[in-house]
Amino acid sequence: MSSPKARAPKQTAKSATPKSAAKTAAKAPAKKTAVKKAAAKKVAAKKVAAKRRSNEPVALSGEDKVHFVKAIWEGVSKGGKDSGKASAKSAKTAKAKAPQVEILRRIPAAAPQNKKQNALSQKGLAFAAELEAAFAKGELEALSPEATQALMGAICKIYGANQESGNKYPILSGRMAVTGTDVMITCGGLLKAADLQVFELGMWQSWTGI
């Protein structure tokens, strides 16, 4: 079921400040460029309409067809950049009054899975949060080299074993979690520590698909 938030239809977003509302009204009528761009498509449409009235087959030029295909790509979207009719229509509307923002629906990300963490995982999450906090304060020595090595080794073992046994999950929770440089340095360090060359990694990945 949707959350109550998701089912709230036809809300109107209220302007945040009177200033932004004024800006909205001032900028609304600008649609002329789109109308101009659509002139060619209008010509094609007129030709088609004239032929339709006479019930004769329509001979379209190559250019007309390009405009039609563009229109197909643009779909029926009245906002499409080559959609002349629609742009003209919206321009008229905009002159009359500033467009209202109507919230049709909100679709939240999936409801959080309150997955139970075991005691060790809870400790791990709390410890990681502590480390992140210390790092944010610039405490580069928050974790000693020995502690870092021990943690890295344990994580390597447990992650590797899970992947091999088919319990696959990404090693990081999201792309924003670490920088590319962090990944390069860490991967390089791991390979060096295990006396592996980059080509060996590539070969192994090709063979195993992991």
Partner: protein
């Protein structure tokens, strides 16, 4: 073109979406990996609600150097899929994943403090 207020940034969690109508336009606003993206909600195929379907990771077929296939795999790039017929668009560009020329109209998003605006 004007800035249209569409909501508070704090109300969007990663993965949340909002569909708004502004005049004749319908726009889907996504929050993905900390960024906002906004596209026309009219699919370029038959006009379906392009922004309202499943979000799903892009699929790639991995090849070895000798051109043998390692099969299909999900990548870390995200697509959103029109629920009518399955047109799949790149979350970050609005381009159809198999033909980059087919591109949903993209709207710019401006964030001022906690307020999110779409330029439409």
């Amino acid at each position: 073109m004007a800035e249209q207020f569409v909501g508070k940034a704090s109300e969007f969690k990663d993965g949340d979406r909002q569909i708004v109508r502004i005049g004749e336009q319908e726009i889907g606003i996504f929050k993905h990996e900390g960024e906002f993206y906004a596209y026309s909600n009219f699919c370029l195929h038959q006009g379906g609600p392009a922004c309202e379907g499943l979000t799903i990771a892009r699929v790639e077929e991995r090849l070895r150097d000798d051109k043998t296939s390692m099969g299909l795999h999900f990548t870390n790039d995200m697509n959103f899929v029109c629920p009518w017929h399955g047109y799949e668009y790149d979350m970050k560009t609005g381009e159809h994943v198999s033909n980059r020329k087919i591109k949903l109209r993209k709207y710019n998003i401006v964030q001022k403090g906690n307020d999110v605006y779409v330029i439409a």
